[in-house]
Amino acid sequence: MDLILEGLIKAFQLIIALDAEVLGITWLSLKVSGVATFISVLIGISTGMIVALTRFPGKKFVVSVVNTGMGLPPVVVGLFVTIFLWRNGPLGFLDILYTPTAMIFAQAVIATPIVMGISIAALQNLPAKMRLQILSLGATRLQMVWILLREARLPLMAAVMAGFGGVISEVGASIMVGGNIKGYSRVLTTATVMETGKGNFDVAFALSIILLFLVFLVNFLFTIIQQRERPR
């Protein structure tokens, strides 16, 4: 019980003092996960749209692969990405192991199937004849795509939230490909694990609170937008 109290106190201290290192870690967490989510949204929604709206052989197989990808253990992704990015690995020439770039890459790999899977479900859930109705109103292909995305905006926003939530709280892959390097690739999750390992439970607690608050804030903002779109 003292520990929790100590943790809360330490958290306030660090936050109020605007401790430079903590701020840096927080900002890096947002940057890395934000960019990774953005990439996954671009890829996930566009490919999801293609899969959902076109007919092609093996479609069911592709959709099952995507759905399996949604449950990919992040630490497995981390291991695979690390092996690829090793100096002597196939992508070693990129020289990005133990950098935030590698973390963005791994997190994007984790988030993309999530965003893609939910997008496919969202678009397939639209009425079957909706596409024809939109085209019959004289829409160009591009306009049709935009209208369909707009019609599915509620679940699509949920997809973005799911993608972001999945990666900002991720720690296994981030440690493996990032290296948890002080001031460079250390984010809230990896720092929390490290501080716990060192026995600095109050600091770990403080970092956890900040992380929770961050996740809550982002989700809260998105939920407001999502629920606002709901007509009265």
């Binding site: 009425p127 024809l132 109705q133 085209l135 019959s136 109103l137 004289g138 707009r150 007509p231």
Partner: protein
Amino acid sequence: MTLKETILSVENLKVKLGGVSILDIPSFCIREKEFVSLIGPNGSGKSTLLLVLNCLVRPVAGRLTYRQDDISSREATFDYRRKVSMVFQEPLLFDTTVYNNVASGLKIRGMQKDETRERVMRYLKWFNIEHLAPRSARKLSGGEAQRTSLARAFAIEPDIIFLDEPFSALDPPTRNALTEDLASILRETGITALMVTHDQTEALRMSDRIIVMHNGSIVQQGTPLDVMNNPSNEFVASFVGMDTILQGKVVKASDGVVTISVSGAEIDAVSNAKFGETVYCCIRPENVSIELVHPDDLTSARNIFLAVINDISSFGPFLKLTLDCGFPLVSYVTREAFAVLDLKEGKKVFAAFKATAVHIIPGK
């Protein structure tokens, strides 16, 4: 009636899905300001034809011409599609307000805000949904939603409007009201319309021309009266509700009046069929009247038969009687008449119908 200009025509249209032939139409056309109804059983290809005419489905073969211009090229197809619109059985409204829905076709075309506003309000008024403009599409009744869908399709002021069973999901009073509104708006705007419907009464009331489809082909087209009373074959006959179809041989023919021998009985009809020909006699149930005693000279009907009531079933506001006169005969009576005549199964009655009520189709 002056011959109107052809606005849309097809030639040698073939549509296949997965190797199965869905449509096979050698030629077909719609004239300007016409209201054409497309009827036929499920699976006859009506909806597919509509989608092809709208250029939403590509045929395997065939040519579409709009006002004398071939519209097979991508560009021409797109320009054509911007001049027509379609309403489906489901309203398929967008998740926004009624106003935004009706405005969507205009927004797609890049119309300015003021012009859009004027247009949208006009069509909202015409369809009596002005008061619903700010309401969300999710909160509409079936009738209100379909009105919005219609307003949305009309707001772009198309040359041709295609409708695929737009009212079949609505209850009868709503359906009637909407049918009236649609008919009057079409009359006022002079827009050409092609509607698929299951409701033959609706088709009868509203259309200039009816087209009957079966198994992907057009089996008959003509004015409503034409199709309803002069079906060209047994399929159309039974489809348009001529429940009694009897095969027989012409045993007497003179001056356009013939006598047909059917299962031992003789039926008089008006026809130019020749002696010895095998024909089908088609009789509408509404044209068969029931009497308890032989009507003698009280009726001008030339065909009077003693009959036994075999089966009684409900048919909307009527009761459908299946009679045995030596040949099967179907009649409709009102519930009032049914009660007054005290009809029941097994009762012997007299069935009578005029010679003019017998429609002759050449037999096989």
